[in-house]
Symmetry: C2
Subunit: 189 residues, 2 copies
């Protein structure tokens, strides 16, 4: 069973090493990890066509996978990485299980209030633009947490130190463990 | 032809009015706008189950639509709204055209440098966590811009004043115009 490894891990200085470690965890559980780097080949040029080539390659790799484990750790703002969010939606529409983890364990509401000048207006929290901050006691936007819940799981959330936020694999390992449990119960087929 | 209207517009204080105006623009072009509010019914409670109910409802509405027009305007950070990004991935995997617009016309690189303590390291731009800021001369993450390019279009970008960032519909109208042109050329079937 092939697990697509979605996340901003690809932006780490030691991205290849971290994705290699994730593949090793998958292997220990009898899964095959699929990294965005698996496409191989020459790195595309820093142009729109280069970006498009990577997009096509990642879409192909997702179609080859049976499920996705997404790194949903908040990235450059109160929410997760948008490329990873796109990939969760992609796999969800294909009917493949969407699992996810985060290395922060607070709510979207708490982070948005802190980072986006949250204030009360009309009995709700709004941001600096006066836009509603959703409050469903979830870790991120309801489409993302919803896709994981509909897949028979919940987002695995573990607080980590700031400097280990994008490299700590404790929550990732717990998430692979969830995938193995779903497989045992026949919910990953 | 049904157009799913994805975007953070749902968080505006006058969300229903803005989505009504978008539906009117769609109608003027012979499209049927599909708003996340179309599900109707009682608003769900502010609990994880309530969020999950909206997620299910939005997924049903997306499956009922022929294409998506996404509001990709940067939201609470350098990138677009993550819920909208999820929905772009969802529609892309279903093979439905993904169109998008933004009310900012700068690049992801420029915004990330400004908002995330960008600095040079090893010939690349990195953020406060030392993570690479991608640079493909695109407006947002390559998966998002890539999906629009693969749909036969490009993201429509128009600079707007900050106070009109989430209500100005100039770029949205231009995007519906692009959809109409794709329909005329038989690329929306």
């Amino acid at each position: 069973m092939r697990v697509y490894l979605a996340g901003p891990d690809v932006f780490l200085p030691n991205a290849h090493e971290v994705l290699q470690r994730k593949c090793e965890v998958c292997a220990a559980y009898g899964f095959v990890g699929v990294s965005p780097f698996d496409a191989g080949g020459t790195p595309p040029p820093p142009t729109p066509d280069g970006g498009r080539a990577i997009s096509r390659s990642n879409e192909r790799l997702m179609r080859s996978a049976d499920l996705v484990i997404a790194n949903m750790t908040p990235f450059r703002g109160p929410s997760m990485d948008v490329g990873t969010a796109f990939e969760m939606g992609f796999m969800r529409a294909l009917g493949r299980p969407v699992l996810g983890y985060s290395n922060m364990d607070d709510t979207l509401l708490a982070r948005s209030i802190a980072l986006c000048e949250g204030r009360q207006a009309g009995g709700h929290w709004v941001d600096a633009h006066g836009m509603l901050i959703e409050d469903f006691q979830l870790g991120d936007n309801l489409m993302l947490d919803g896709a994981v819940l509909e897949s028979g799981s919940a987002v695995v959330r573990r607080a980590t130190a700031r400097e280990a936020r994008f490299t700590d694999l404790t929550a990732f390992v717990a998430c692979v463990d969830v995938a193995a449990a779903l497989r045992r119960s026949g919910r990953l087929s």
